[in-house]
């Protein structure tokens, strides 16, 4: 397989973009990421999107977005893997360039959420569960995370606010990100007083789904050399799946797909977890980040909450997390999230992350998860001199 480089990355601000369509958002991210590269050089377009049909009222997004960008004619398609759609699209773009099929492609993550009311959004997101045996019983993804949180606190003997350091860290970093949905800090006291959404998950431990688009430009080595700009190598890429229903797993507090895709991506990159300088995880709730940190092997089982409380996830910690605000403060982009993660990590590797910059970041880890641990996509990015 050939080396693949990220040579451009950009995103729209995350917001309730009432005045803009899905294609409008895609166009902004696409043009910013290309940053002057002639669009006619783009060989293919991979679109990570979870709910275009349900929430934006538009499926067939390959043709819809390509024609909206003036690129009708090229290979273009939507990649859907629920909340992991963006990471899955990135992997498809990576494979397309690594295989030699194309020497320049664009991976676009886009989600248009806010045209629909909250109940419809919740029901659409719940389509990622087992529709006959989970969603049919009124379960949502948020309530599944809540059940894992309650069990986690019970098994490891933590207090109710033990996971507060995750959203507190996310908001502290989001305040430094001009593109974030929420640019204010919170604290543990506010966390304790927040009203419940799905007990024990409260409002300050639940992400907000919002609109946005992010894009990365992937290129073969000779194109990367010709065009200059960022030179971030995709050193590892892996996707793994688990049983659709949460209740079907023997150990629901461990995400086998997260562990498996992490191991595969690290093996390909010939790196270990201790080489990772900065990371992005699917962290709509503290419990999601905690289970991922443990399942991937960054910390021991049951230790993630303690690790976060000890400062381990801050920009100066051993596993800097959510430096752009994470899902909680940057905003939850559903199927576009995996591409937003890549954009944030490119910012880190380029040393452009301002007050949330991780010093001397050279190796970055992105993992996005669809459903509650059902699909996990892991990428390793390495900055080359």
């Amino acid at each position: 397989m050939n080396n693949v480089y990220i040579i451009g990355a950009a995103a729209t601000p995350v917001a309730e973009h009432y005045n803009r369509t899905l294609v409008d958002l895609a166009r902004e991210a696409f043009n910013k990421a290309l940053n002057g590269i002639d669009p006619s050089r783009v060989g293919a377009l991979y679109i990570g999107n979870a709910l275009g049909g349900e929430l934006a009222g538009q499926s067939n997004l390959g043709a819809a977005v390509a024609s909206g960008l003036g690129l009708a004619g090229i290979e273009a398609l939507r990649v859907e893997a629920a909340g992991a759609s963006g990471g899955a699209a990135l992997r498809q773009g990576y494979l397309a360039v690594a295989s030699g099929a194309y020497d320049l492609v664009v991976v676009l993550g886009v989600e248009k959420v806010t045209d629909k009311l909250e109940e419809k959004v919740e029901a659409s997101i719940a389509l990622a569960t087992d529709s006959d045996f989970e969603a049919a019983n009124g379960v949502t993804l948020t309530s599944q995370w809540a059940m894992l949180m309650r069990r986690y606190l019970h098994e490891y003997g933590y207090e109710a606010d033990a996971l507060a350091p995750f959203p507190v860290n996310a908001h502290a970093n989001g305040a430094n990100n001009k593109g974030a949905l929420y640019r204010f800090a919170i604290n543990a006291d506010k966390y304790r007083k927040a009203p419940m959404i799905a007990s024990p998950l409260n409002m300050l431990d639940c992400s907000t789904a919002a609109d946005g688009a992010a894009a990365v430009v992937l290129a073969a080595p000779h194109i990367a050399s010709e065009l200059g700009g960022a030179r971030i190598r995709i050193a590892g890429s892996a996707l793994a799946s688990d049983s659709l229903a949460l209740h079907a797993r023997r150990d629901p507090l461990h995400f086998a797909a997260a562990q498996r895709s992490t191991a595969a991506a690290l093996a390909q990159a010939e790196l270990s977890l201790s080489d990772i300088d900065v990371l992005e995880l699917t962290d709509p709730h503290g419990i999601a980040a905690a289970i991922a940190l443990e399942s991937c092997g960054f910390v021991e089982r049951g230790q993630a909450a303690r690790h976060a409380a000890d400062g381990g996830i801050s920009p100066t910690g051993s596993t800097p997390l959510a430096t752009g605000g994470g899902y909680k403060a940057r905003g939850d982009l559903l199927g576009a999230s995996g591409v937003y993660q890549a954009v944030e990590l490119v910012r880190q590797l380029q040393g452009e992350a301002g007050a949330s910059q991780v010093a001397d970041a050279k190796v970055a880890f992105a993992q996005c998860i669809g459903g509650v641990g059902t699909t996990a996509v892991t990428h390793i990015f390495v900055k080359e001199a």
Partner: protein, 128 residues
């Protein structure tokens, strides 16, 4: 609401039909394609188990507005499998991890545009 979809699930929804492996004694729910193993037999599960974890939803999906707020749980059945269901006939304060529960048949969701009434399993605290 899809009539045929709910009809296909009537064994699981009304009788908690799963499977037992006559060679190993293992149970599973819901029933799956038996594949090459002839030992999986259809059986109705006892409907008794305990709460592994639970949550009370206040932000609910469309189709469930009339029940809000409502508790959902992961329930470990006494035969071994785990399933997901709503809890009923109890207040939030009464629910705890490990609480014994039993299956009852209740209406699952709003009638929806086509007026279909969908019934299935929920679980309530065991009445001593």
């Amino acid at each position: 609401m899809d009539l045929a979809k709910h009809w296909r699930l009537k064994g699981a929804r009304y009788r908690l039909e799963g499977q037992r492996n006559s060679a190993t004694g293992e149970y599973r729910f819901p029933a799956q394609d038996a594949g090459q193993d002839p030992n999986w037999e259809t059986v109705a599960l006892s409907g008794r188990g305990e709460v592994w974890s639970f949550s009370v939803l206040r932000q609910v999906p469309s189709g469930f507005e009339e029940f809000a707020p409502y508790p959902v749980a992961l329930i470990k059945l006494e035969e071994g499998p785990m399933l997901t269901a709503q809890l009923t006939d109890c207040s939030e304060e009464e629910i705890s991890i490990g609480m014994p529960v039993e299956m009852v048949t209740r209406r699952l969701s709003d009638a929806g545009e086509d007026g279909l009434l969908v019934y299935g399993y929920k679980f309530r605290p065991v009445i001593e």
